[in-house]
Amino acid sequence: MSVLIGGVLLGAGVLLFVLEPVFSGKSAPMYDGDDVFDEGAARRRVALTALRDLEYDRATGKLDEDDYGRLRTELSREALEHLGDEGDGGRAGGGARGGDRSSRALEEEIAELRRAIREGMECGACEHLNRLGAKFCARCGEGLGGGGE
């Protein structure tokens, strides 16, 4: 008898929990919250990570200047395309002026990458590339050690 009661209670509890949203109108979020995935940002990240790895490969002597130059041109072109995407709110395309802006942004980005690598401003914990002179990571707050000044 007690088993039967236990079974009925279990079934009733399960039904209540599962069906409650349908009757009460409670809803699961159908939109992404703050953690939006942006394909453009993802592709940019891949391109910029590749550029960063390229800088490291050059620093470690795996690439000579010719190979480095050739690969950097190709990767920069790709990063540029995605910076263009970003400038247009996620849509491809953009005029010449937009292209110039993107090109400048990329050059700044690459310069920042190289400077951060050279100056040790990359956060060891989250890989954020911090501004010169920073003592703590702007993203995660990790101390940046002796490379700050």
Binding site: V18, E20, S27, Y31, D38, E39, R43, G61, E127
Partner: protein
């Protein structure tokens, strides 16, 4: 508790079916209430399956011999932890356990994505609940209900197969099942990507960690299984190309291919269709491995075989899933077009592609060999086996090519490698491989496969070590850090890359260990207590074994069985090069309830080789015994390599605080609604 478990099993099926329906309907219509109900269902099914599993374990612990499943896999004398492990000892419990783990992972996936990846989640929940519903239907209606009663109560059970009465029984199956079931989550995300049409790299980014988690469990599960075979089967080997071993290897191979090919999709926007196919095939192979383990479809050392009917049900399910996935992929082909082409044969993309082709080649070869008995039975009416020689002949050369690619892939340039790049990166590793080959030839080694393996291992290991050294040195120079600190920072800044290198190093060590089999030595001798025998290892050590004594537990009358097993234990003192290294206790055991015997080997392990003693015949009256003694060089390296692979995978899995997005790429994302019918 057991009856509550049975009730929970019956409740779980309609709930899971409801969840499947409302999840897909919610995703289609954009109704958040239905989606929420579906996600709650995932958690409820997990809860119910916990009750089901607890019910089965309670039946084992309570010696409930009115249940068919408990009778067949337990007896009163069985140790408690084997009774708990009874949950996965047979086909019925294994299916429950598989379903429990799958629902557990489904719950985790639903929970961690409760506020993100929302456009995928209705279809992810729906797919996972659909798979769970199928398994619950099988459990309830395919003659595999773990709560089936006999109609009477036996005094005692029939006992657990002696080969399963080993501590690895409590570790190996759960680990492997964790690997199988975790892969359902990436599969569900792939289906969701196909259904929603969001076929960018998002589903890969979301599931990368799941894939790695599954791969981690599959890898250590396979290594644990090898160790179990090594200790328990008593023939000195660790891999027999047994159908069930092969079945666990198949999804590992395709998952490994997938882990590499997603990098090409992420970096170059290529191989999108290939990746979709790999994720589907890997998932189907995990299902294949699961049912093969317990179906008895193909005879194997694992065949505690029972019910062939279930094999056909699973094959039908696999066929249905494959057809549905194929239709979805074909439907989305225009969105899966490659964005780039391979520019050069000499490039990292090319190396990764070859790696994939080789892994899929090995998969086909293993699959063909595994199913060969079924194929011959179907076409010729008689069952034939191909046996280990076929697998070794086909897979060793392919494995060696993969080993070489493990060295080439990480250092060859993306897109197009110049001759200078090749010269710069490969001169020293090739020299290391050649020097190893020359040294081994000079030492008199003539075994072709072993020579190739050791040379390639030296080549790859030089590359991995050089990569770490160059990276650490550069980091130390750039950041002004000490070597240890620079090494830590190096690994931390790109865990995926450096974790991968550690995995490669581990695989090299495993390959080296496997190649050691070329130098096994073996001696068989009959001895009486006080006598000694000597065996030389290929690495130059001389082992001496002194047979001290034979002891045995006193067998009681069969009708008064108190022990689970009766044991005859030999005592041997082992010496290496005159130095005492320990005492070995190889055993023969007789399991009176099952009326079966088993052999427990004695192993003395060193860093370089194992001394492996197999008791053959034992005479209790005279205490004469025959021992087969093997010295197995480099076998310990297989286990060390497995550990290194596990560590490397954990490094890759370890969470990084914040996403590693370079600054310009960050924080410019837009809040964007879900396109397909996303009402609030």
């Amino acid at each position: 508790m057991t009856i509550l478990g049975e009730i929970a099993l019956w409740i779980a099926l309609p709930v899971a079916l409801w969840g499947t329906a409302v999840s897909f309907a919610g995703g289609r219509t954009g109704r958040g209430d239905l989606v929420l109900s579906g996600e709650r269902t995932v958690h409820v099914v997990t809860f119910l399956l916990v009750l089901v599993s607890a019910g089965i374990i309670a039946a084992f612990l309570g010696n409930r011999y009115e249940y068919y499943y408990v009778v067949n896999y337990s007896n009163r004398e069985l140790d408690t932890y084997f009774k708990v492990a009874g949950l996965w000892a047979g086909q019925r419990g294994s299916l429950v356990f598989w379903t429990l783990l799958l629902s557990g992972f489904s719950s985790v996936a639903a929970f961690v994505n409760r506020r993100r990846n929302r456009e995928f989640m209705p279809y992810v929940s729906g797919t996972l609940l659909g798979i769970l519903s199928f398994l619950l239907v099988v459990l309830l209606f395919a003659d595999v209900n773990p709560f089936e009663r006999l109609g009477f109560t036996r005094f005692n059970g029939l006992g657990l197969n002696p080969q399963l009465q080993n501590y690895w029984m409590t570790i190996h199956p759960p680990t492997l099942y964790l690997g199988f079931t975790a892969f359902a989550v990436p599969f569900a995300f792939a289906v969701a990507a196909l259904l929603t049409g969001r076929l960018d790299s998002r589903w890969i980014a979301v599931t990368r960690r799941w894939i790695l988690l599954s791969w981690f469990f599959l890898t250590i599960g396979i290594v644990f299984g090898m160790r179990w075979a090594y200790e328990e089967l008593g023939w000195g080997g660790y891999w027999f190309w047994d159908p069930v071993e092969n079945a666990s290897l198949l999804p590992w191979l395709t998952a490994t291919a997938f882990l590499h090919s997603i990098q090409i999709q992420e970096n170059r926007g290529m191989l999108k269709v290939w990746n979709m196919c790999l994720v589907v095939v890997t998932f189907l192979l995990t299902i294949f491995a699961t049912f093969l383990t317990r179906s008895g479809l193909i005879e194997s050392v694992h065949s505690f075989a029972e019910n062939l009917r279930i094999a056909y049900i699973f094959l039908g399910f696999m066929g249905g899933m494959a057809i549905l996935a194929a239709i979805l992929i074909v439907h989305r082909l225009p969105s899966l077009r490659a964005e780039n082409r391979i520019q050069s044969f000499l490039s990292r993309e090319s190396a990764f592609l070859f790696n994939n082709l080789l892994l899929v080649g090995v998969t086909f070869a293993v699959m063909y060999g595994t199913l060969f008995p079924l194929i011959t039975e179907g076409f010729f009416g008689e069952t034939r086996n191909v046996g280990p020689p076929y697998f070794n002949r086909v897979n060793i050369p392919l494995g060696l090519m993969l080993l070489a690619l493990m060295g080439i892939g990480p250092v060859i340039a993306w897109r197009r490698a110049s001759k200078r790049n090749l010269r710069k990166n490969f001169t020293i590793p090739v020299a290391a491989g050649a020097a190893t080959l020359a040294a081994l030839l000079a030492a008199g080694v003539r075994h072709g496969m072993a020579l190739a393996t050791f040379s390639l291992a030296a080549f790859v290991m030089t590359i991995v070590v050089a990569e770490f050294w160059k990276g650490t040195r550069a980091r130390a120079r750039i950041a002004g850090e000490g070597i240890a600190s620079a090494f830590r920072s190096l690994v931390r800044r790109n865990r995926r890359r450096w974790g991968g290198y550690i995995v490669h190093a581990g695989v090299v060590v495993v390959f080296t260990g496997l190649a050691g089999a070329a130098f096994d030595t073996r001696v068989e001798q009959e001895m009486t207590p006080g006598e000694a025998m000597t065996v030389r290892s290929a690495l130059g050590s001389e082992y001496r074994l002194v047979y001290e004594s034979l002891s045995h537990t006193r067998p009681r009358a069969a009708e008064d069985v108190q022990e689970n097993d009766w044991r005859w234990t030999a005592l041997l003192t082992a010496y290496r090069d005159g130095e005492r290294i320990g005492v070995l206790r190889p055993e023969k055991r007789f399991y009176p309830v099952m009326e079966q015997t088993s052999t427990e080997v004695g192993i003395s392990s060193s860093a370089l080789e194992d001394l492996y003693v197999i008791p053959k015949d034992m005479e209790t009256g005279t205490d004469r015994a025959t021992f087969e003694v093997k010295v197995l060089p480099l076998v310990p390296w297989i286990w060390y390599g497995g550990m290194i692979v596990a560590i490397g995978t954990l490094v890759g899995l370890w969470p990084t605080r914040g996403a590693p997005v370079p600054s310009a790429a960050r924080e410019r994302t837009v809040r964007r609604p879900v396109p397909a019918g996303a009402a609030g």
